[in-house]
């Protein structure tokens, strides 16, 4: 087993990986940019190494600096987390060349799945259903003809992409040119590759993905599905398992399709095969394979009882699975809500600032994977994910109730968050019935359905009273506090310097 692992990431996922390392008795090395000197992941690690400036290219995306940090700190493996260099085949290869272990699949597997166009061809060969579409187009005319043949609406997306970047829905030929240009720019900027592919856009589709896991001894299992259809800006905000849509038969079929997809690229370690699912026909189509740990992996951990990060590390160290497919079961129901610093009223634009209050919910069946604490800065340099809130319960109804109370207990001041928005989504009949498709958020907001109205813009009476009273009760710098509370000797409100006014 490894003695020391460098985590080439930041935020909640870096901390989550470090927790697993500690439980396995492995030392951890954090890396950080100048903007993250005070970040929680730096405080959590056994060692911490400064990479460079805030810009990702100078820090978390800098392959040379990361490899040097690993060698300097005598780490014997690197865990890439998700995002950043986690799906970069060159990075995986560079880690290998430095005689370190990359905790993830081989560089070849990453490369094979990294190009969305090539992987689609590969999947067709492996007998995995794919969305009707075309790869390898260059000129505008080629795209135009392809779109006509597929029929609008179509989707153009980065061949090298993922996570909604470099992706555009095109409803008519008039929109096609600008969509291609924007997608190309974003693709180049995000992935260093401007190639696009085009395919049928399934408007009412669900996003259902299958977690797969392989060891280095040829064993491949799937850990069932995650339903990830609640999305805004093509990015997931609420995920759950099991999916309310799947029958046991469909689940088994999709699980086997995902294993076939992984086997086609000799996959080992954790990966996710994403499918588009059409609820009308119960047809599913391969979308892409993410060759890394997924943001929403805790949902799968909650229902299977397996610790995916433990197993990533153990597999990378050469261990064999002690279990077979038939030993793995789904129990109960899990939901994850991604708490983002973003404003639903401005089209979910990120919100930055200092966290004046950050109180996480606790309780039976509640898990919070967080990268922030009160006093931390949320900057515009990185992804605005503050925390992931995961609940587990014996069935979907109780899980929704539990998530509602947990969201209610999650207090974030200083940046605008999507907490109230997610509460409103969970409250809808559509969510309760499990029929939310990937375009639901967008359509529902367009139709003025009251999803945002329920978050009253005019503050309620109690909020007004509290805001006005706070100045009386908390403001110090005067004679003495109005409220004395002996059980709280460290009350920061008693101190002038703390009331930012």
């Amino acid at each position: 087993m490894f003695k020391k692992i460098l985590i080439a990431n930041r935020g909640e996922i870096a901390i989550r990986i470090m927790r697993a390392c500690r439980e396995l008795g492995i030392q951890t090395v954090a890396v950080y940019s100048a903007a993250d000197a005070h970040a929680q992941h730096v405080q959590f690690a056994d060692e911490a190494i400064l990479l460079g400036d805030a810009a990702p290219k100078e820090s978390y995306l800098n392959v040379d600096k990361l490899i040097r940090a690993a060698l300097d700190s005598k780490a014997d493996a690197i865990h890439p987390g998700y995002g950043f260099l986690s799906e970069n085949a060159s990075f995986a290869a560079a880690v290998d060349s430095a005689h370190l272990t990359f905790i993830g699949p081989s560089a070849d597997s990453i490369r094979a799945m990294g190009d969305k166009a090539e992987s689609k061809i590969l999947m067709k060969k492996a007998g995995v259903p794919t969305v009707p579409g075309f790869e390898g187009l260059e000129t505008f005319d080629e795209f135009k003809n392809a779109a006509s043949e597929i029929g609008y609406p179509v989707l153009v997306k980065a061949a090298a992409g993922g996570g909604g970047k470099g992706m555009r829905v095109v409803n008519s030929e008039a929109e096609l040119k600008e969509a291609i240009e924007t997608a190309r720019r974003e693709a180049l900027n995000s992935f260093g590759d401007e190639h696009l592919l085009i395919e049928k856009y399934l408007a009412e589709a669900h996003h259902i993905e299958i977690q797969v896991f392989g060891d280095k001894h040829g064993n491949l299992v799937h850990l069932f599905e995650r339903e990830c259809s609640v999305q805004r800006r093509h990015q997931k905000i609420i995920e759950e398992s099991p999916s309310p849509l799947l029958t046991p038969e469909l689940r088994e079929q999709m699980g086997q399709a995902a294993i076939a997809a992984a086997r086609a690229v000799n996959y080992h370690n954790a990966g996710t095969v994403e499918f588009i699912f059409d609820p009308k026909t119960s047809q599913y189509y391969f979308l892409e394979m993410n060759t890394r740990l997924q943001v929403e992996h805790p949902v799968t951990e909650a229902v299977t009882g397996l610790d995916l990060v433990h197993w990533q590390i153990r597999i990378a160290a050469g261990e064999k699975f002690p279990f077979a497919q038939s030993d793995i079961h789904q129990h109960g129901h899990a939901i994850e809500c991604r708490v983002y610093a973003e404003d639903p009223f401005t089209g979910f634009l990120p919100s930055t600032g200092k966290l004046l209050q950050f109180i996480e919910p606790h309780g039976p069946g509640i898990r919070v994977d967080s990268g922030f604490a009160t006093g931390d800065d949320v900057t515009h340099f990185y992804d605005p994910l503050l925390a992931k809130l995961i609940v587990r319960a014996e069935n979907r109804t109780v899980a929704i109730q539990r998530m509602q109370t947990a969201l209610q207990d999650f207090i974030v001041h200083g940046v605008v968050t999507n907490i109230d928005f997610m509460r409103a989504v969970l409250e809808t009949d559509d969510f309760k019935q499990g029929i939310i498709s990937t375009r639901w958020v967008e359509k529902t907001l367009e139709s003025n359905s009251g999803l945002l109205d329920s978050q009253q813009q005019v503050p309620a009476l109690h909020s007004l009273i509290a805001a006005a009273l706070a100045d009386v009760v908390f403001i110090s710098g005067r004679a003495q506090p109005a409220v004395s509370n002996e059980t709280d000797p460290f009350n920061p409100w008693k101190q002038t310097g703390n009331y930012r006014n």
Partner: protein, 170 residues
């Protein structure tokens, strides 16, 4: 009720009026409680406990837990899991935010990627005036109405702060 009672402070024994946006609230100390008046409606408020930005109140006998944080004139308030951001305004300053009605401001800090218009250009509602990049996303700043560009305050490559005015259209 056996709750710990909190007395209003002596130096506060007069009415306090606070305005948040369009709403004004008055707090009148009355014995060990406050009378809060909003739009002619009165409620009785008692502070049970207050610490670490959390207040437990009795409002007309109903227990209310509120979290309040303060940043300059802003107040972040969470009650029953709903968070609002209120901005304290004096009567004179009300409407300050509307001064920028024709001005397009940066929704978040970032970098200007391109500027497509110059002063004097006629623009149509929805036309993209400039593009900026923030958090690896491209954000298009579009005209809110038909008009003429009155000012352009930024150039390509420039870093901008949140709420900085970028372009004004008349």
């Amino acid at each position: 009720m056996g709750e710990e009672q909190v007395r209003p402070r002596n130096d506060m024994d007069k009415n306090m009026k606070t305005t948040f946006g369009s709403q004004t609230i008055e707090l009148n100390p009355s014995g060990e409680q406050y009378v809060a008046s909003v739009e002619g409606k009165n409620v009785i408020v008692q502070v049970i406990r207050a610490a670490n930005g959390r207040m437990d109140l009795l409002v007309d006998g109903q227990r209310v837990t509120a979290y309040v944080s303060s940043d300059m004139a802003k107040r972040w308030v969470t009650v029953d899991g709903k968070t609002s951001m209120l901005t304290k305004t004096s009567g004179a300053k009300q409407g300050v935010r509307h001064d920028h009605a024709g001005g397009l401001i940066a929704p978040m800090p970032g970098q200007i990627r391109s500027v497509s218009v110059s002063v004097g250009d006629a623009v149509k509602k929805g036309q993209t005036l400039l593009r900026m990049e923030a958090m690896k996303m491209e954000i298009r700043i579009q005209a809110l109405k038909d008009g003429v560009v009155k000012s352009v305050s930024v150039a390509q490559g420039q870093t901008v702060e949140r709420e900085q005015i970028l372009v004004e259209v008349e």
